[in-house]
Subunit: 411 residues, 2 copies
């Protein structure tokens, strides 16, 4: 037994897998879940809202019947459980997206959909257009494939197609897609207005690229008028999902429950057909039993459940906006989301969100996520993300009060 | 609405994702599942063996308790459910692999483990060493990352390290790992003898590469003495899992049930730590509820269940070997597996397995998988894979009888 027998794994990792960032944030979230800390950090649903009875009934009914149980516990097809895909095609049609089950792939949450799209569309050096800030998990999913990032402007307008093309060529590739969370985005809570959605489609047409629409929070609207999805707008332009450049990533994680890991992609069939092969190579298929259960629970409770979580989260959103108005010192700005789980706070230029967090946890016993991690390129350090999905209304007022006093003492 | 608005997705796929092969085989398996065809094609467990009562009880108990249900339906950590990882560490220790829960990552079946390892270890042009033939799903998982393949010899000896190195350099990269299914391999049913396992470790040491041990069938031994796993041998050489070059891919799919998509990787901690990030970027985590259920079912029934499926499959293996001896014409050879689900048949040189399949389904109403698909490089077309896991003993005798008569009429 000599030292040189030992194998050094990290020396053997391919470069492309070395770029996955931001896990520090998730580590941080774990640390922040201390019982005496009021946490606005984790962007996760309130587990008291899960339709437990519906899930218990669905698992029980399936496994109570021998013939169903043999199907529910067996291998299954990569594209997903057909009745669930049919239900989702109907669901999408109800949102202005006429399609069939063949336009649907079942994925392990929308996260897996994003990772598959990164794998399928990016070569090293290619450019992905993302908002600044944007969803951390999308950056993690795409970064394994070594893209450059450029900024997709959703409020202040975009660069010209030529400018994007030149910058992408300078980075060693071409622009491959635009990614956006159009409704109640993680982390800002912002909704992309109709005109800006059209501008994204115009830009994508000019660049001849695909558009990835991350619809994770789309069902969670608390007020204001619904804006058509980017995929619906694309179909209205082109006449058919088969001619559209948009792929829609949906999930049951924010409405029914995240733990079953059931989401979906909806797009033109040639893309879905290829992604079925990616799914097969990746993990064969999503858990059969969970797909069958999600179909039953969605069919039985989806609309009621969406109403229920909207009511619960709307009250917390209201409580957080009221608390911010009450407790934040002058010079602090924040978004007014019409849905979702997040408020984005911009501090005075001199205050660093990460430094503030350290003091907030140690002194004020309140937690949030510093904004820096959500930027692919130039980060605005004077920002932070607050989640209102988990804390009670009383905790929200108390926690925002503590945070406001700390910022006032800091700035 | 003009034609040039339509988007052409396939034009936008990255080259690396264009190499996924062999889905035709899975399509074929679907077509072959016709009620009047005796099928030896699909390599899947017998659903009548699934411990349905244990699963029903575990899902029911978890969801029957509000506090447990809130955990079971919520997001979870990427590395996996701790009690399941602890159970698996004990399970691995019982197989000569002293380790802790930190050496375990929970994956969506062993298939996801293989895909993660391909992603983490391969750059385009690198070489993967695989047996000829080998598991189709491994080739699918690795091929997305555009490796070259070279042959890992498990019976007739290997090339010199220098020869492997030269061929890999000629293919534009370096040898990155050796992949093998040491016990009752898919598709051959063969078990790699102890001396050959040591030779693989010697070769890997000479090449300074990792070893991927696919243990999918390891628990399904029907007779003969157990051979230590490659990881156990590696640890016996190096003194510790932390110094070993072998990563072990395990699964509950062949023992408890495949549909929950729960498998695991077991390896040195620096590799597992990196793979946790890959998991996080890929799908956040495996289904929480399924991990909690699998822990309960494994703890309650694993040993009994393994005994039960061994007894059932051993009888079918015996029936198939007896039927082959009874019905096959001279010039046909086959393996005598000590476990697993497969027998590998070599036909006379002039008989093509794929052409035989067409006639077998049309004329004899019997199905199998032609052997060609299981070769990464030079395929032996005169081969086929028979699975004995699904058909009854009477069907096996009848089906092999039909096949034997067809081959006799063909050769």
């Amino acid at each position: 037994m000599t030292t040189d027998l030992a194998f050094d794994w990290p020396q053997h990792f391919a470069h492309r897998a070395g770029r996955m960032t931001a896990s520090e944030i998730r580590e941080l979230l774990k640390l922040l879940d201390q019982p005496d800390v009021i946490s606005f950090a984790g962007g996760i649903p309130d587990p008291h809202q899960f339709p437990r009875d519906a899930f218990a009934e669905a698992y029980g009914t399936l496994l109570g019947d021998p013939a169903n149980a043999r199907i529910a516990l067996q291998y299954s097809v990569s594209e997903g459980y057909r009745p669930l895909k049919q239900w989702l095609a109907g669901h999408m049609e109800g949102r202005g997206v006429p399609c069939t089950e063949d336009n649907i792939l079942i994925t392990a949450g929308s996260q897996q959909g994003l990772e598959f799209l990164g794998r399928l569309l990016l070569s090293p050096g290619d450019t992905a257009l993302v908002a600044a800030p944007t969803y951390l998990g999308a950056l993690q999913a795409f970064s394994a494939y070594e893209p450059a990032y450029d900024v997709l402007g959703l409020d202040r307008g975009n660069a010209t197609p030529e400018a994007y093309r030149e910058r992408a060529a300078g980075a060693g590739g071409a622009v491959k897609f635009a990614y956006l969370v159009p409704d109640f985005a993680n982390p800002t809570g912002d909704t992309v207005p109709l005109a800006a959605r059209h501008q994204v489609l115009d830009l994508a047409a000019a660049l001849d690229i695909g558009v990835i629409e991350d619809a994770a929070y789309q069902a969670l609207r608390y007020d204001g008028a619904e804006v058509p999805s980017v995929l619906a707008l694309d179909i209205a332009r082109t006449g058919s999902i088969e001619r559209s450049r948009t792929v829609y990533a949906g999930t049951f994680s924010k409405t029914l429950a995240p733990a079953l890991r059931i989401g979906w992609l909806c797009a033109a069939r040639p893309l879905i057909d290829k992604l079925v092969l990616v799914k097969q190579a990746s993990d064969l298929h999503c858990a059969t039993i969970n797909q069958m259960v999600m179909y039953r629970v969605a069919k039985a409770t989806y609309d009621d459940q969406v109403k229920r979580v909207r009511t619960a989260y709307a009250a917390r959103r209201d409580a957080m906006l009221a608390a911010l108005a009450r407790h934040m010192p002058a010079g602090v700005r924040w978004t007014r989301p019409q849905g979702g789980m997040f408020v984005w706070v911009t501090l005075p230029d001199t205050v660093d969100g990460a430094a503030l967090l350290a003091r907030a946890v140690a002194q004020a016993r309140v937690a949030f996520v510093p904004g820096k991690a959500f930027f692919a390129t130039d980060a605005a350090a004077n920002t932070l993300r607050l989640s209102f999905s988990l804390a009670s209304e009383a905790q929200i007022d108390e926690g925002i009060g503590r945070l406001g006093r700390l910022i006032a003492a800091t700035a």
